[in-house]
Each structure stands twice: as C-alpha cells, then as structure tokens.
C-alpha cells in the first residue's frame, strides 16, 4: 500500500493535507500540543523560539482574512518570519503555473507553505513537488479538506466535553460544499465519536455520507435532538450554482438554529460555527451570542492548534 504522503517512514507528520487517513495517535498528539501552546497566551512574552529563522509563506489563492490571519499569528508566536502573498493579484494572474510559483518561492528559501486553493488537491501537488525540507499545510482546498479547522473543532469539543466516546455530534447546513464538514467527519470518526449526524436539505447533504458511518437527517428536529455538539455551517452562496435552495429565508425557517430548535439538544450542548457567521441565515443572533455558543473560543483555540500543527511538522524530517 502506498504510504500516506503526509507521514514519513517513521509514521510522523511532515505535511498536514487532510485529516483523512491519519492515525488517532497523531491527532491526539496535536491536540495535546495545542494545549501547551494555549498557555503561551498567558505569558509576558507571547512567543516561543521553535521556528526561529524559518520562513513561512502564506499562499492564499482564495480569499480568507480570518484563516490567513490566524496562521500568521500562529507562525509569529513560533518566531517564524511570515510572508503573505496576495497570489490572486500577482503571478497567477500573469499566467504562471502553480508549480512554477512554488519553485520560485522555494528559491527564496521558504521552509513552509500554508496553502489555500480553490482546486481540491492543490496542496498535495505542492507537497509532492517541493524540496524535502519544505513542509506544506493545507489551509483549505476546494470542497475537499480544511484540516486545521477540523482539528480546532476537535480541540474545542475535547475542551468542553473531555471525551469523544459517548458524544452525539450534529453538523448542520450546507454540507455538500463544505470542506469543514468533511474534515470534521473524518476527525470525529477517527477520535471515536459514536453518532455523527449530517443535517440539511437533500440538495445540500450528499447521499454517500451514510457510507462514512454518518446518519443523514433531512429533518432538523430529528437531527439535533439529544445532540451534545451542534456544528453550524455557513451557507456558501459563492459556491452555489443553480437552484439548490428556494431562498435563504426558507433555509432559515427549516434549518436555521433558533432557541426553540436548540432546546431539543442536550441542556449542556455546545454550538460551534467555523465562521464567518451569517446572522439570520443559518443561526439566530441570540444563539450565536448565547450561553451555548463557543464560536469565539474556537477562534482562540485555532491559533494554538495551528501553532501545534506547524511546530509538529517542522520538527519531523521527510
């Protein structure tokens, strides 16, 4: 069997491209390491020297302020030099191929690429063609994967629920377009969550999810009843083509998270969202700001998780 391209011959993580196929021990180690980095925020000096002298290039072929910023903060807290490339407006627009861009940036002594790309698989291509000492982190590729978001969601769930082995997790909304949903499902399955539910209209929930051990629910009440964790997804207007939905108002009526619907979940349920949230489209304001919401802690945990990912892969040799 071909080796997972993210792991070296010792089974250590050298790139983070997808949660799919990673051993549970690797995920757990990243979550444990993130816990260590979370406490760096409490110090006088909020910086550790693990990536001192290393250059991290943020290559965002697709827009994202939040994810790019949290990667930048994470790299800077590890003392790396961070170079942000606004790639949409530069070489690609002039016709340079992806691999030529990477070759040029490697000649500038890049040590790590953080890549967001509209095409699924672009980070794999880069990982296969970059120099052995260069590490690649997938910051979201097409509809495929968003592994650091998946890991920070796992960190958030572990932080509030401690143990995965008896949880019911409902992922609600536009699952067909969501790389976050895919990464979450893989993470939850690897960490041993017994009940994973995908909740949404038939047009937005892929039918093949049942093969991944996911319970598909087209009825919102059925989907969130008794849930410990509710992960709301953003309605991705920019990825939608054709008539997948009658209207945003209709979607909110059926699948928007309101206090009434939230009351069906466990009393201590947590509500998560990868952001940016669309108030009144997938989630009511009072829920987004309410006592069940852990949306802002997710952002804080995201920095520690990205520090853990970058320091873990940078410390392992190809």
């Amino acid at each position: 069997m071909a080796r997972n391209p993210q792991l070296n011959s010792h089974g250590e993580l050298i790139h983070l491209l997808s949660i799919e196929g990673l051993p549970k021990a690797v995920l757990t180690q990243i979550l444990d390491t993130a816990g260590t980095f979370l406490s760096v925020n409490d110090r006088d000096v909020k910086k550790v020297p693990l990536l001192r002298g290393k250059s991290v290039f943020n290559l965002f072929f697709e827009n994202s302020t939040r994810t790019r910023t949290t990667f930048e903060i994470a790299a800077k807290r590890l003392s790396a030099d961070v170079i942000n490339l606004d790639i949409q407006r530069s070489s690609t627009a002039k016709g340079e191929s992806l691999l030529d861009t990477i070759a040029n940036l490697s000649a500038m002594h890049a040590d790590m690429f953080v890549v967001r790309h509209g095409e699924s698989g672009a980070p794999y291509l880069i990982a296969q063609h970059c120099a052995p000492h260069v590490h690649v982190v997938n910051a979201g590729d097409g509809r495929h994967a968003h592994p650091t978001q998946g890991l920070l969601d796992m960190y958030t769930i572990r932080h509030y629920k401690r143990d995965f082995s008896e949880l019911t997790v409902a992922i609600v909304g536009d699952i067909v377009h969501s790389r976050v949903a895919r990464s979450d499902i893989h993470g939850l399955a690897i960490l041993g969550v017994p009940e994973i539910r995908a909740v949404g209209p038939k047009t937005l929930v892929p039918g093949d999810l049942a093969q991944m051990g996911v319970r598909v629910c087209h009825d919102m009440a059925e989907g969130i009843r008794g849930a410990d964790v509710i992960i709301m997804l953003r309605l991705q207007n920019e990825r939608m083509s054709g008539a997948m939905l009658p209207s945003a108002g209709e979607f909110f009526k059926c699948y928007g998270l309101t206090p009434d619907k939230l009351a069906l979940a466990k009393p201590d349920a947590i509500v998560m969202h990868p952001g940016p949230i669309n108030r009144g489209v997938e989630i009511e304001s009072s829920v987004a700001d309410g006592r069940h919401s852990v949306i802002l802690p997710q952002v804080t945990f995201g920095i520690a998780v990205r520090m853990a990912v970058m320091s873990t892969i940078a410390g392992n040799q190809a």
């Binding site: 250590e12 180690q29 444990d32 390491t33 816990g35 260590t36 406490s39 760096v40 110090r43 006088d44 000096v45 910086k47 550790v48 020297p49 693990l50 320091s311 873990t312 940078a314 410390g315 392992n316």
Partner: protein
C-alpha cells in the same frame, strides 16, 4: 562493569537539607519536568513552604528541536505565582550537559524577571557542555555517555534511581 548504586531516598534527604540552606525569604521552588517536578512537590511539603511549587518544561526552548521535534513530550509550564522580583530555586533530578537548564532559564524569563535563579539537583553527573553549575548537588558521579540515570517515583511517593543503557 559494576553497576552504580544510588540510594535516591538518602540523596533526597541530602537535597532537602541543601535546599533549606539555599532558601532566601520569599524564594519559590520550581521543579523541572518531570523528575524535578516530583522533587519540588515533595520539597514544598517537607519544608512546609507556603503556597504551591512551580513546574517548568524545557520543551519550547530546546536547542535540539530541529533534530528531535516535539517528541520529548508536551508538558506545559505551570507557574502558579508571579516570578517578578522573586528568588527562584530550580530543582532537577540529574544535571548533565546543562542544555536543559539553559532552555529552562529562557522559559522562565518568558514569564518575567526573577530576582535570582539558583539550581539544586539530586545528582551532578558531569559532562557539562555549557558554563552552568548547581549551587547544591546531593551527589557527584561520573557515568559513561551511553548510560542514563532515570528517577522513578512509586505510588507511595518514594524515589528510586535506575541506570539505563542507551542503544
């Protein structure tokens, strides 16, 4: 070759005596994870010091990160007190190259500026690669490079030393 025998409990009694002599007013004990943290925990109790001891980890400042990565564990530093202006007594089980102490002093300074830093250890095994010395060592021994001294703590809290052969 005769195996080195070290009575960790007898050495601990020596260390307790030695650390008592190092304690200035307002001093705080900080144990280096993991063996040093066990020693600091017991010293805090046996010396009837007020408050809690600190635990410090070298992980984030190690100089072998490029070779070893984060493999050495991810224990977090826990300093349940402000260190600014306080005399800090670092406690460790074994002092060897001095590289862990260098890393730990850097880690300490990420939390503030202590009045002073001193070091007390159970065993100084020589082999220093940096200009670092302990103010107190309960024993000084010489060990070949392929041997490692490992402190263990049993469920009753008693210490033992084992000499391990490195591959």
């Amino acid at each position: 070759m005769t195996q080195l025998q070290l009575d960790a409990e007898a050495l601990y009694a020596e260390l307790r005596h030695g650390v008592r002599g190092l304690l200035q007013p307002d001093a705080a004990l900080v144990g280096i994870w993991s063996g040093g943290a066990w020693l600091a925990e017991r010293l805090q109790r046996d010396l009837a010091l007020p408050g809690a001891h600190g635990v410090i980890s070298s992980t984030l400042h190690r100089d072998d990160f490029a070779e070893r990565g984060l493999a050495g564990g991810t224990a977090a530093t826990q300093l349940p007190f402000a260190i600014d202006g306080r005399p800090i007594v670092l406690i460790d089980d074994v002092l060897y190259t001095g590289r862990t102490i260098r890393a730990v002093i850097n880690e300490l300074y990420d939390f503030g500026r202590p009045a002073s830093v001193t070091l007390a250890v159970l065993v100084d095994r020589g082999g220093r690669e940096l200009p670092i010395a302990a103010s107190f060592a309960a024993a000084r021994v010489t060990l070949p490079r392929n041997q490692r001294l490992a402190l263990a703590r049993d469920p009753a809290g008693l210490f033992t030393f084992a000499v391990e052969e490195l591959a």
